[in-house]
């Protein structure tokens, strides 16, 4: 369970609140998408969940944050890291070794995972992301997308109970992004892992997430099930978030009295809507 109660945070030297009275409750095994315009507080929210805020990124912190039983104020970042696996946007600066295999081993060794379990975890992480062939490659020889997969594999190998990804699929091609999201979905089903993903690709979020949190100026502007959230394309646009095109199309058709049903959030549902209108 993740619980944020009235969390506010201002970075050192800044009068503006990066997070402003944020209240959140995320159940174990929930898949939550976080979306919002630049500067909305998405990354700060992710940093709060991992303990980076306020332990590393210092500033004024108010409220209480509890992640899987750990108070983020009293727990160290190292303690938090056993529970929360993070991957951030700039994967290159997250690499601490030079080789793919070593990068995945790094955290497993640090957390003293039993020796007989380490190779299984490395193998599984590599095969889950289809990068087993990169195992002995140097990180500097990889493409941006491959590097992102390695960073994701390193996080997945630890099997944390919470996975926090901050635009971690930014450099992946569409097919690989879907593959990563499907894998996250599978992890949630099989291991009850809580997934929190900051992502700008709303079609992906709408296809995989249970719930969408839309942030604006450090506040939670909208928090609800994906379909319910997407039913308000006008409000989303006001907040600087694009709706899936099929949802926007449904809203326009509804305004013109051509469609009365629930707005589609993916292509399959859009097809059903189109057939209904044409019938």
């Amino acid at each position: 369970m993740i619980e944020l109660r009235n969390v506010s945070f201002s970075y050192e030297g800044s009068a503006d609140r990066a997070l402003d009275d944020v209240c959140l409750s995320i159940a174990p095994g929930e898949f939550v998408g976080v979306i919002g315009p630049a500067g909305a507080g998405k990354t700060t929210l992710m940093h709060t969940l991992s303990g980076i805020v306020p332990h590393v990124r210092r500033g004024e912190f108010f409220g209480a944050a509890n992640v899987a039983g750990l108070d983020t104020i009293t727990s160290t970042v190292a303690e938090m890291s056993k529970t929360v696996g993070c991957v951030f946007q700039d994967v290159e600066s997250q690499f601490v070794t030079t080789m793919v295999e070593d990068e995945i081993l790094f955290a497993l060794e640090n957390f003293s995972i039993p020796r007989d379990e380490i190779p299984k975890r490395v193998d599984r992480a590599l095969s889950d992301l289809d990068i087993a062939d990169l195992r002995s490659r140097s990180l500097s020889s990889l493409s941006g997308g491959q590097k992102q997969k390695v960073a994701l594999a390193a996080a997945l190998a630890l099997s944390p109970s919470v996975l926090a990804f901050d635009e971690a699929t930014g450099e992946l091609d569409p097919a690989s992004s879907v593959q990563v999201f499907a894998l996250l979905s599978q992890l949630r089903r099989e291991r009850n892992t809580t997934i929190i993903v900051v992502e700008q690709k709303i079609m992906l979020l709408s296809a995989f997430a249970d719930r969408l949190i839309v942030m604006d100026q450090g506040r939670v502007a909208i928090d609800g099930p994906v379909r319910q959230t997407l039913e308000r394309p006008g409000r989303l646009l006001e907040l600087g978030v694009n709706c899936p095109r099929v949802t926007t199309l449904a809203a326009r058709l509804r305004d013109k009295g051509l469609y009365q049903g629930a707005p589609p959030i993916n292509l399959d549902e859009a097809e059903v809507m189109a057939r209904g209108i044409l019938r």
């Binding site: 070593d102 003293s112 490659r137 500097s140």
Partner: protein, 252 residues
């Protein structure tokens, strides 16, 4: 420069040798080159490193190192040569300067020592994963993990700095900064090149430290390393070579 200090996968004896034994071999060649007074032994050590590099399939690294360090050697050679006054004069120069036989020998040996010290370290890093070196330093020598990690991270950052520098140069060139010009113009270029490089490097190091912390860096113990590094027959052979190099260097 990027790539020269990086590990190159392979299946040679040296790839399977204990990381600390490889380090010892590289240090032996360097120290041997500085201890010996024999120009021929310096040359032999240099040729050993060059041929070893090619045998390891690292011809590109050897050539790049010789090119980079060779320029510095040539500069030092030229700078020192006219100022060595001892020995028989071979070529008299203006302003009381001269080229002597002792000067030639001294400068040639200096250059070979410099090349001989650079090449083995480059080759050692080419056949040793930095993580193996870190783990071996911790497990075998008992060096605290954080210090061993800092040492290998510093080595890892050298090529990264070159890549960053290249990116900064590209970005500044795209913004109209002219890199060719007179000496004073080049001096003026230092701030637009060095300030962004410094900023990006500090930021990168900060992010890197954070990433390590987020992945349990401070929880690491001495026995946490997954790989084990038992000594084998190849290690004994390499250790014998190290002893031989040092012995010959002392004798000569």
């Amino acid at each position: 420069m990027p790539g020269i200090l990086e590990y190159q996968s392979g299946d040679t004896i040296l790839h399977h040798t204990h990381p600390l034994v490889k380090l010892l071999l590289a240090v032996s060649v360097c120290v041997g080159g500085f201890i010996t007074k024999s120009l021929m032994f310096n040359l032999a050590l240099l040729l050993l490193s060059i041929s070893g590099g090619f045998a390891l399939g690292m011809g590109r690294k050897v050539k790049a190192t010789l090119k980079g360090a060779g320029s510095l050697c040539l500069f030092l050679f030229t700078l020192q040569l006219p100022f060595v006054r001892s020995g028989r004069t071979l070529i008299p120069l203006p302003f009381g300067l001269k080229v002597t036989d002792m000067g030639l020998r001294f400068c040639a040996q200096l250059s070979m020592r410099l090349l001989g010290a650079t090449l083995p370290l480059v080759l050692m890093l080419g056949v040793t994963r930095l993580s193996d070196l870190t783990n071996a330093l911790v497990a075998q020598l008992g060096i605290p993990y954080r210090y061993a990690f800092v040492v290998t991270t510093a080595i890892r950052f050298i090529p990264i700095l070159f890549v960053e520098m290249h990116d900064v140069i590209e970005a500044q060139t795209a913004r109209g900064v002219e890199l060719d010009g007179s000496f004073t113009q080049k001096i003026r270029l230092i701030p637009p090149l060095c300030v962004p490089l410094l900023v990006s490097c500090v930021q990168r190091m900060e992010n890197n430290a954070l990433a390590a912390e987020l992945r349990g860096f401070y929880l690491r113990k001495r026995g946490s390393g997954y790989r084990r590094y038992p000594l084998n027959g190849a290690d004994a052979l390499v250790l014998t070579v190290c002893a031989a190099i040092l012995a010959i260097a002392i004798i000569t």
